[in-house]
Symmetry: C2
Amino acid sequence: SRSINLAVIPGDGIGQEVVAEGLKVLSAVLPQDVKLETKEYDFGARRYHATGETLTDADLDELKQHDAILLGAIGDPSVPSGVLERGFLLKLRFAFDHHVNLRPSKLLPGVATPLAGQPEIDFVVVREGTEGPYTGNGGTIRKGTPHEVATEVSVNTAFGVERVVRDAFARAQARPRKKLTLVHKNNVLTFAGHLWTNIFDKVAEEYPEVTTDYIHVDAATIYLVTQPERFDVIVTDNLFGDIITDLAAAVSGGIGVAASGNINPSGEFPSMFEPVHGSAPDIAGQGKADPSATVLSVALLLRHLGYEAEATRIEDAVSADLAERGGLPARSTSAIGDALAVRVAG
Amino acid sequence: SRSINLAVIPGDGIGQEVVAEGLKVLSAVLPQDVKLETKEYDFGARRYHATGETLTDADLDELKQHDAILLGAIGDPSVPSGVLERGFLLKLRFAFDHHVNLRPSKLLPGVATPLAGQPEIDFVVVREGTEGPYTGNGGTIRKGTPHEVATEVSVNTAFGVERVVRDAFARAQARPRKKLTLVHKNNVLTFAGHLWTNIFDKVAEEYPEVTTDYIHVDAATIYLVTQPERFDVIVTDNLFGDIITDLAAAVSGGIGVAASGNINPSGEFPSMFEPVHGSAPDIAGQGKADPSATVLSVALLLRHLGYEAEATRIEDAVSADLAERGGLPARSTSAIGDALAVRVAG
Ligand SMILES: CC(C)[C@H](C(=O)O)[C@@H](O)C(=O)O
Ligand SMILES: CC(C)[C@H](C(=O)O)[C@@H](O)C(=O)O
């Protein structure tokens, strides 16, 4: 019989609330014969304040035993900026080699967008997850003096770029429009830019059916608001991916519905699925958070584990639910979760 | 008697056309007693192809003699990506220490925006121009092999950050809303992020009337499309500034109206003024380009040289002209220039 052994990290702020709904929908969608085991972990601000720990080697060993990880949100104003981000979120992505950061953007019918004229938006960003300016390379000298120098080194390897570019080509090939856009800034960041561009062009030869395109990251932000329909699959570096996926979320219904997967395609380590939004401490505990982004992250998780039909059922349920309520969380977090659970079970 | 000794660099593509209109309006707006001298320089793709040169030391010595520089656009698909950008545009910004890259965004009445509901947009981005990931630090090893490693180093100094932060505070203080937002990514780029944040907080103490705010660059792209009215002055790093000012241009009427100044506030070197748009080779030579961005760059140039009334007259003329034609270049490049020249002379 089949089973899913899931690590659950509710985290901080609204993380708790949205993860509860994600699990509700997950239980409802799974066939009877699939045994779901979950283990909850208390990572985040409270554990940091209590113990000073963010993510230990022992934690990583434990997490490694799971088939996948569902995360709500990590982060709280009581913790200095960077501590939980570098000490937990990025540490986990790097330790588990989550090099494919998958972020789909689809403007669902009836969902509000800040753009005029309800454009067609249906693309996926494949963001590199283990290199670029996120490596933590760099440092500071003469800290706090008028002569301080702080550096950040973007590290890009042929190995790291090629594997994520290949993943993106395979995804583009599998989609009806078969179009892949490389987003970078190769006219200024010429060292990294040429590495990305050369590998992209080389792999493109193996995918003659995929239409390719290159856009500078600054211009990409323009197209995301003026012609988002031009994108099908985008592949990009870690930092550019961070920036354009927030914008992509904003134009396609907001971060309340933006899902993401931090994927280790080889399966050597468990992949991690999380909403793009943060812990939103301002609305935490009020039942106001839209759990759709987490529920859609559960769909990505299921697809990653091979439950394609169940993933699609969740996506259809969210789509129907959003159409019904016009995109806004008119109901409470748990009411939305209940409605989705009924739909997917239906 | 007063005089302006201007270096004019039309450059490539539509650069030629829009600069002609910029000069037309400049001549029309200047009082009789101001002597305008211009000298044209042939930088860009043609010179590069003819001589292999982008910008020589002798060129820099000549340019240095001028009071200011007006640039159209540099760049052509016939030149490999990066050659003119690094060899001309960035070389000039670095050589003349253009550390304040000023980019105002104002949605003028009647101008189309991709955003629904015609929001109020009136802010200015102060982008650092001589540091960050733009320094060209970095390199490549094992080029073209499966073991290639390419790095890009973002270099940030207390000296460089403090001077641009001070400039931004002074600008915020001089505006009615007196609000300054720092945009960075200090939760991930912790070395540079802490330098920026600490200096920002330190200088803030000297400006008790200025309301301050910090936003991560990814979240800033969300606010630029959902709540652009929240911004008054933004100060940010070179790369983040590059990205968000293209988005800012897109939401506030498009790059057809986005002006910029590459400013050396001390006056040690001439400042350079240019539209944010590029050379747009696809529409070059057809009289289709909107010269408004260049004309508004001329206004920034005049303000920089102390001609405040003339700068405002140009801005009012562009505003009136855009309102009349609904934002789009329904008339040709030169017809728009003619109309603006009549208005400012009027
Ligand atoms: C919280 C932060 C470390 C993270 C990132 O920058 O990757 C977030 O913005 C995201 O996009 O998942
Ligand atoms: C052309 C390029 C070098 C330049 C930059 O990145 O600064 C441009 O995008 C700009 O914003 O002026």
